[in-house]
Amino acid sequence: MYFPSSRPWADGETLSEHLERRGVSRRDFLKFCGEMTAVLGLSSAMTPKVAAALAAMKRPSVIWLQLQECTGCVESVLRTGNPSIGDLVLDVISLDYQHTIMAAAGHQAENALQQAMKDNKGEYLLLVTGSIPLNDDGIYLTIGGRTAKEILVDAAKGAKAVIAVGACAHWGSVQAARPNPTGAVGVSEVVTDKPVVNIAGCPPISDVVTATIVHYLTFGNIPELDYDGRPRFAYSSRIHDQCPRRANFDAGQFVEEFDDEAARKGYCLYQVGCKGPATFSPCPIFLWNSGTSWPIGAGHPCIGCTERHFWDTMSPFYKRMPDVAGFGIESKVDLIGAALAAGAVAGVAAHATATGVHQIRERRRERELPIVNQPPSGKKE
């Protein structure tokens, strides 16, 4: 366990020197490097390279902007119960500007931001949590008299890389759910001239943030991204395909209600709305709260928080399918579908009956009329 110290990482000091000063053994440091190499999906032969790069690293400048958000991501990333070296790396490198944890306030804090941007122009990493409200000229979020958009565009200009942490910075999260009154958008919709790494999740797993930074510090570039800008080392597999309850899914064993026998036996949560089959995330592997548990492990279905627009498309969270908009909350697709299919069968039966009735009526009318042009019955030509 390594706690934050009042002695910051000094300029000119390498990471290995700093960690040594903080009482971290070389052995623990190499263990951390090995973990990070594994998380990034690299060969274990790369561990020495990662270790060498990190050990020789001078304190990088990181600016952490918090925009329209709940601070949950910062809590998730920085305040774990048992801070690891990874947390420490995050802690020590995010000193330039992070308005939740920094000591300065008001004009002092603003000056720190401006100073850091000026001193490390083109060199600093920009981490962003929170979305950017664009409606009504962005008046829904201002810091120091400037709108979120102005702050972000200004900060992104001099940044070497931009990392959007959490669902808000990814695409807007809950404030961007329909009807999105503030016009909240993610970082990648404002910063379009450089690649943005999206660390998806509400909140994301801190290991993914750390590993992305380690990748950047080791190789000097951002990791490979998927179609939605998420690092592939973490978001290339569905929860469903890594789930410890997958055997129950394949066997056809499902929880139907949260307090039923199947729930107690730990069966698959598919029927109570688990969005694991629709969600790319490393939760089953990395786990949460220092590797203690994760939602499905605790008996709760996945809500799909690493996917874009999950508040709209993954809800209702406890149902398999999205609701039909405008049909009212009681409507269900299967109910409508079954009713229409039954209606088709009933309609067909009614039509057949009507045809028969029509035939009988025609026949009666024909009996009264002289039969014209009707060849005699049974006669073949």
């Binding site: 998927d226 179609y227 939605d228 592939r232 290339s236 569905r238 469903h240 055997a247 129950n248 394949d250 066997a251 056809g252 064993q253 499902f254 199947a262 598919y270 029927q271 969005k275 089959p277 629709a278 790319f280 799909g304 996917e307 874009r308 627009h309 999950f310 709209d312 498309t313 993954m314 398999r320 399918m321 999205p322 697709v333 299967d334 579908g337 079954a338 229409l340 299919a341 209606g343 088709a344 069968v345 309609g347 067909v348 039509h351 057949a352 009507a354 045809t355 028969g356 029509h358 035939q359 025609e362 026949r363 024909e366 042009n373 060849p375 019955s377 049974g378 006669k379 073949k380 030509e381």
Partner: protein, 248 residues
């Protein structure tokens, strides 16, 4: 007094034992070539399997007990679903090829009722089915405009099913071919749950189509002695020589 003097409209027919046996001159006309017939029945079986297994995957209506390791119910259902999907896609490929290689009743042009005449006849066909003007149905050798529209709609729906199905299927392996080929659809439609929803709803459209389709085919045989059902088995049907068909 021969049948040839009769006006060119379908004669009144009676149901069951009172039905008049067909009289007059008939000729056999070949409509649906072998690939189309094989495609029709293979696709029919595949669609029934897909709808049944698909509804189970959407809502698993029965379950197993005991140890997970001793069952593979959902696994087998999904295997059947994906296998039947592969069969359906194969029939689709045959159908697309036959849009260009087939006869004039099977070609691409036969799929679309685009001439003004077709639309007028479609109204007549609807009136015929609604028994507003039962004697006035336009006579076609191949598909009438209403059939063209509904079958083309079913082809389009099948395409939607295949594309949305592959988009979901591909997600199990993001390094695979299906992910690369169909993943574009997911952000386009606004997320995989929307894709899933469309796939699910389309199943019900098939389940609504099937009874209507079967009924109208049988009704055609019973009411008009059109030989419709025979034509999708043997390939052809007997048509009256004295009736002027719209698509002769």
């Amino acid at each position: 007094m021969t049948a040839l003097e009769r006006p060119p409209r379908a004669p009144r027919m009676h149901l069951g034992s009172e039905a008049q046996p067909p009289t007059g001159k008939y000729q056999w006309i070949y409509l649906w070539e072998l690939p189309i017939r094989v495609m029709h029945w293979t696709a029919a079986v595949a669609i029934v399997v897909l709808a049944t297994t698909g509804l189970y995957i959407g809502k698993p209506f029965f379950m197993t007990g005991g140890e997970a390791s001793s069952h593979y119910l959902m696994g087998w259902v999904r295997f059947l679903h994906f296998s039947a999907a592969a069969v359906l896609v194969t029939t689709g490929i045959v159908r697309v090829y036959w849009l260009f290689a087939g006869n004039r009743f099977e070609r691409l042009a036969a799929l679309f009722p685009i001439r003004p005449r077709d639309w007028a006849n479609m109204v007549k066909q609807v009136k015929y089915y609604l028994m507003i003007k039962p004697g006035d149905a336009p006579q076609y050798l191949g598909h009438n405009p209403l059939q063209q529209l509904s079958y083309t709609g079913i082809y389009a729906l099948t395409a939607v099913m295949v594309v949305t199905g592959f988009a979901m299927y591909g997600q199990s392996n993001p390094d695979g071919m299906f992910y690369r080929l169909f993943q574009w659809l997911v952000p386009l439609l606004g997320g995989i749950q929307i894709v899933r929803f469309i796939h699910h709803v389309s199943t019900w459209i098939f389940l609504i189509f099937i009874p209507i389709h079967v009924y109208l085919a049988m009704r055609g045989d019973v009411m008009e002695r059109s030989g419709t059902i025979s034509s999708i088995i043997s390939g052809g049907r007997f048509v009256r020589s004295d009736v002027k068909y719209v698509d002769e």
